[in-house]
Amino acid sequence: MKTKLAIILTVLLAGSLVAQSKLQTNPAGYHGEIDYPMSWKRYYGYEEWTRIMRDLQKKYPALSDIQSIGKSRMGRDQLLLTITAKATGKPEDKRAMWVDGAIHGNEVNGITCSLYLAWYLLTRYDYDPFVHGLVDTTTFYVLPGLNVDANDSYVSSPNTENNPREPYRPADDDGDGLFDEDQTEDVDGDGELSTMYIEDPAGEFKLSPDKRRFVRVADPREEVRRFRRVGDEGFDNDGDGFINEDDIGGPDPNRNFPYGWGVEAGYPYPMSEAETRNVFEFQLRHPNIFASFHYHNTGRLIMFQAPPAVKPPAGQTPEQAQRQQQAAQQRLEALKKADKYAYLAPRQVAPEYQHDLDVQSEIVSAGNRILKDYTPTIGGLSGQAHAATYYMLGAYSYLIELWGSPDFEADIDGDGEVSDEEFMKWVDLELMGEGWVTPHKAKHPDLGEVWIGGTSRKHINRTPPARYIETEALRNANFVMYAVSQFPKVEFGEAKVTPATDDLYWVEVEVKNDRAYPTSSDRAVALKRAAMDKITVSGAGGLEIVELPNAATVVDALNRTAQSEAVSAKGTEFRLKGHETKRFCALVKMSGAEGSVEFTVRSKAGGTAVRKITLKAE
């Protein structure tokens, strides 16, 4: 005889929803920007950006911590903001997003982007439900300036757009036995580093009619005062006859990480620089880091790490390979009909890595849409930071090449090149003259009289003119937040109870992850760094869990086609991929009038979920 049962499903919420009086229900409301007003129309030097970080932390102590992860070669602290709602758990207990800006000293718009993200999260937490949710469940590690010595110099001192770029390890770039002995200098003392020309009857340049720039002499017979381009402003410090040939800085910091490292690009040895080593040591000690963003410039690229490519199977003909490529292309074309930003990573990977590749395609497609005008591409290895985060830590990683101006902004005729005229027009029309140095004479101790002028490139070439920073920072913050919104979340779906025999019942639950990312990456699994998800079950009241022999786990207890796995007594380990649902069941024995079964799923990256099912005899 069967007892009639009323099944009451009770969902116990994991975590807590703290009532926020300011929290908007309507996203059109006020979002807190002026709780901490910031100008995003300028670049900040080390003193300023670290002061902003400290101020932000002081203003939002419940949401942030600040720490130095170590010192640079010249003794500056590398300050890191840790952002998460402390009320919902410790930072190291939550899955985390790592964001760093400006590993290359001169790429300081990365500082702006990462600082902007921190500011956005902190000021909006109390108001914006989307941000609130992210900051409750996730930790953000934000290191605005990575290469702090060079970062500060770039902003605070006269420089070209390209220097200083590396950490300050002395290096002998020109092989003369001296180290960093011939750097750029602001010859005319105007606070800008522009281009030097010298009068020379054989020179290729002349002054333009408006005397604002040097232009090439088109007609070799033209009788005109001619100039030769010397190069960047600077002195011949070591008297070797060359100017600026041994600038400050040593190894490229983004060839200094261990994965894919080689001595040619990465001299002298992996993790040789304090700046990069501090970062990687921190990442090694924080296995909760789930994904990472690394800001660079330029070119508007979304570079992402993909699993290793597999060689085509032996015996594959060129025709077969071509057909395979065509099929992939067709698949992409079909996707693009619905979404012009759709992207599929063009790489063949081993089956155990396919999910990572699919995840990256999905995330990057959305990023493509959010950032606009950016091009997704698979990132390289060669000792790069984002290669180490994916290949050594198993975290999904992205390198963003910010900004593409003036190519994107000034190329009016669309021929893919920016002519001198186009450039000048852009400066005049869109920058209102910002970033231009009118040619003028100066005394030079090695060359005599020189002319200095042209673009002040550091303001308007590799790093965008200050007026353009905010738009790009906002879009990039959006992309990071989108990625975090796709971090895994384990939830219970449908639950079902089916009578077995006598007082035995099958209780079955769905465990799902509706997000794009799995609870751990394929690479983390390969590295044996993956923390497996675990489901446990317990009975209370008049309910007792019946332990099943392992063989029983394959029994389709509910007579359904989908597989359902019996939860073992010690708990069952598994891994949820992105957009995946798994089913688990337990056999229970009812001995009283009422009892309950409680399933608990614990996932390091996907959170904890509990489902309690109460069975009552009527």
Binding site: M74, P170, G175, Q183, E245, Y269
Partner: protein, 720 residues
């Protein structure tokens, strides 16, 4: 305290009974800081010795702390070189108009960095401290020989020795002062993931100050008692039938944290000799070497950083134990990654000398390279080693590679001397010191026992040697190297016995005469290698007055066909047009880079500067510094790779560097940039260089020649 007991013992016993013949007390060499080799020094005594030597010999030594171990113990390098001689380019070329920002990231170079450098280190593995003793022996010989012995004096004046007796202070300290044999560095790491750090290492169960072995009867044990000497345990494979009772032999240890396992979370961390960047990754893209990444350990990082910031280092020796042979590169990659020229130097020059030093046979091919084609044909018939066939010889026991040539399999990942050789271009080798079968005077010779290692290699010879060694230490060492088995009740394993070879003396050269002998042999070999270092000198420097002029600009001169023609200018003036010529030469036996090193980014060409007052000297021809390429050495390298007889060993091997080895630095590769400094394209060990300058008045001129590995020299030139 273990160390005290044994130090005292050897002080009494070593001096009276062994009557150690210390060659350090050679005639004429007064020891300001006495040292003996009747026991191992260990970390504290080594540090004291280094400090004492540095204080006693300030003119020829400097003590550097190059880093600290995990447990905070300093890692020291003693620099031995005449501190009054030597110069570097940065001391000779004045800079002006520096950048206003004024960043001080460049430290002035020390004068000793302007001399060819020779690195010698010991105890990368903490329990292999014989190398420490060789280092201390070398220091003693160098500082006492200076001023007393001509060869030593010349070397200390002209070269720089960087001697690091203990790379791994924690491992040595634990091995000798705590008595816990520790190959690895120390790490504050929770090995077993129980939330506690280093809570379960070996233990001195019977409180005798030693951590020895515990043996107990065990039907599944892998040992039986030896028939001849009942103290020796002989390994018997588990599946082999035996009538005898089986025993298990384990480290003296208990389960400290009650988790059912013994010694699962000791202080020992990682193998430092697998923590270097070369060949650290396995073929599947995962870590093959030790640590979280190459140079992750503070000790290996200190070494790597020292090498990179001391680019004058050109010889390197990393002492290990044991076996009594040398591993020359490579271990992580096959022979084909070596340039034939480098192979020739390694084998025909260094290898030959090493075999002579340790008294082993030199292969026929090295004695007579002309015979190599014939020997190669012979090998084709007899050898299964394709690399040996290619070379024309098998590598002998005493001088070999760790790479498994027969099976074409690498020996390990991330090893120090491979890194040094392949990534820095340094003549680096690893000598495995101590061959008990040969290095103990008076020990009966046992056939086939040279360098036996482990239990499975030549077990009969190993057993015969063990018996002989045990008997020898009974008679000559008063039985103090072996702890006779004593009954002990183990808290977990029950009844058994504690005893065995005392770890302190196993795998390391026995104190006294054997140790001093090992030290002396290997010191002599390193002195031979130091003598091979390049030595770039200015052999000729002339400044010839051609003409005087009113201004520097007015005088322009053109050289054609080696002849200087003056175009313009009056007969008198304050400017003197001067032709400066110089000859620079490498007088040292080896070239200024290895063939490998000449292709590496961290290395530069030899250069020569003409330096004068910049306001008074104008360069008319020739850039202020000129690039000289790599200067060959004075030695004719025997063998095929050296270009001698029997050539054609391997001409177009994959990965062999191109002829035009040193690429110009990136600055001068830039398209459209100014032309680079003058390139002097001459072969051999000699370069002739020339400038034409306009000099105001009597402003002085000097020539500075600087070789990264061959030293920096300066010479004033007088205008005639």
């Amino acid at each position: 305290m273990t160390s005290f007991r044994h130090n005292e013992f050897f002080k009494r016993f070593g001096l009276s009974v062994l009557a150690v013949a210390l060659t350090a007390l050679a005639a004429g060499a007064a020891q300001k800081v006495p040292i003996t080799f009747d026991d191992y020094h260990g970390y504290p005594a080594t540090v004291k010795y280094l400090k004492d030597v540095a204080a006693a010999y300030p003119q020829i030594t400097a003590l550097l702390e190059i880093g600290q171990s995990t447990m905070g113990r300093p890692i020291y390098v003693l620099v031995v070189s005449n501190m009054k001689t030597g110069t570097t380019v940065d001391a000779q070329v004045p800079l002006r108009n520096p950048r206003a920002e004024g960043v001080k990231n460049v430290t002035p170079m020390k004068p000793y960095m302007g001399k060819a450098g020779h690195w010698i280190c010991g105890a990368t593995h903490g329990n292999e401290y014989t190398g420490t003793e060789v280092c201390l022996y070398a220091i003693d010989k160098l500082v006492t020989g200076y001023g007393a012995d001509k060869e030593t004096t010349t070397l200390v004046d002209a070269k720089t020795f960087y001697i690091c007796p203990i790379v791994n202070p924690d491992g040595v300290f634990n091995s000798l002062d705590k008595g816990i044999s520790q190959r690895q560095n120390s790490m504050l790491r929770d090995d077993d993931g129980d939330g506690r750090i280093n809570e379960d290492g070996p233990d001195d169960l019977d409180g005798d100050g030693l951590i020895a072995r515990f043996r107990y009867k065990d039907p599944k044990g892998a040992f039986v008692v030896d028939d001849v000497d009942l103290r020796l345990m002989v390994r018997v494979p588990p599946n082999e039938k035996t009538e005898k009772e089986r025993w298990s032999v384990v480290v003296e240890d208990r389960d400290d944290d009650g988790d059912g396992r013994r010694g699962e979370d000791p202080e020992a961390g990682i193998d430092l000799n697998r923590n270097f960047p070369e060949g650290w990754w396995n073929d599947q893209g995962f870590a093959g070497g030790s640590g979280d990444y190459p140079t992750s350990a503070p000790e290996s990082r200190a070494v790597a950083e020292f090498f990179v910031t001391h680019p004058n280092i050109f010889m390197a020796q990393f002492y290990h134990t044991s076996g009594g042979f040398t591993f020359r590169p490579l271990g992580t990659a096959p022979h084909t990654r070596l340039h034939p020229q480098d192979v020739a130097v390694l084998d025909f020059v260094m290898g030959k000398k090493y075999l002579e030093t340790i008294g082993e046979d030199v292969p026929a091919a090295w004695k007579n390279p002309a015979a190599i084609p014939a020997l190669r044909e012979e090998l084709r018939k007899t050898s299964k080693n394709k690399y040996a066939i290619e070379r024309g010889y098998e590598l002998p026991r005493g001088w070999k590679v760790s790479y498994d040539e027969l099976n074409d399999r690498r020996y390990g990942f991330g090893m120090t001397s491979d890194w040094d050789f392949l990534q820095l271009g340094i003549w680096s080798i690893t000598t495995e010191l101590w061959n008990p079968a040969k290095d103990i005077p008076g020990l009966p010779r046992i056939a086939g026992a040279e360098g036996v290692e482990g239990d499975d290699e030549r077990p009969e010879a190993r057993l015969a040697l063990d018996r002989a060694l045990l008997k020898f230490q009974d008679e000559k060492y008063g039985g103090k190297l072996f702890l006779n088995w004593k009954p002990f009740k183990h808290p977990e394993l029950g009844e058994g016995e504690i005893g065995g070879w005392i770890p302190r003396y196993s795998s390391n050269a026995w104190p006294g005469e054997p140790l001093a002998g090992v030290c002396d042999k290997h010191y002599r070999f390193e002195i031979f290698r130091a003598g091979l270092l390049p030595d770039v000198v200015i052999t000729e420097a002339k400044a010839r007055l051609l003409y005087t002029s009113e201004s520097a600009r007015e005088a322009t001169a053109v050289a054609a066909g080696g002849e200087v023609r003056i175009k313009k200018g009056g007969a008198k003036g304050k400017y003197r047009i001067v032709e400066v010529t110089a000859v620079v030469e490498n007088k040292g036996p080896l070239a200024t880079h290895t063939a490998r090193g000449s292709t590496l980014r961290g290395n530069r060409e030899d250069v020569v500067w003409l330096v004068g007052d910049r306001d008074k000297v104008t360069f008319l021809q020739g850039t202020p510094y000129q690039r000289l390429g790599v200067l060959d050495g004075a030695m004719k390298i025997p063998g095929p790779g050296g270009g001698g007889e029997g050539g054609g060993m391997r001409t177009a091997a994959p990965g062999a560097p191109a002829e035009e080895a040193m690429a110009p630095p990136p600055q001068f590769r830039r398209r459209g940039g100014p032309p680079g400094p003058a390139q002097v394209r001459q072969g051999g060990a000699r370069r002739e260089v020339r400038w034409l300058v306009a000099v105001e008045g009597d402003s002085p001129l000097k020539i500075v020649v600087s070789s990264q590995k061959g030293g920096t020299r300066v010479q004033d030139v007088k205008v005639r």
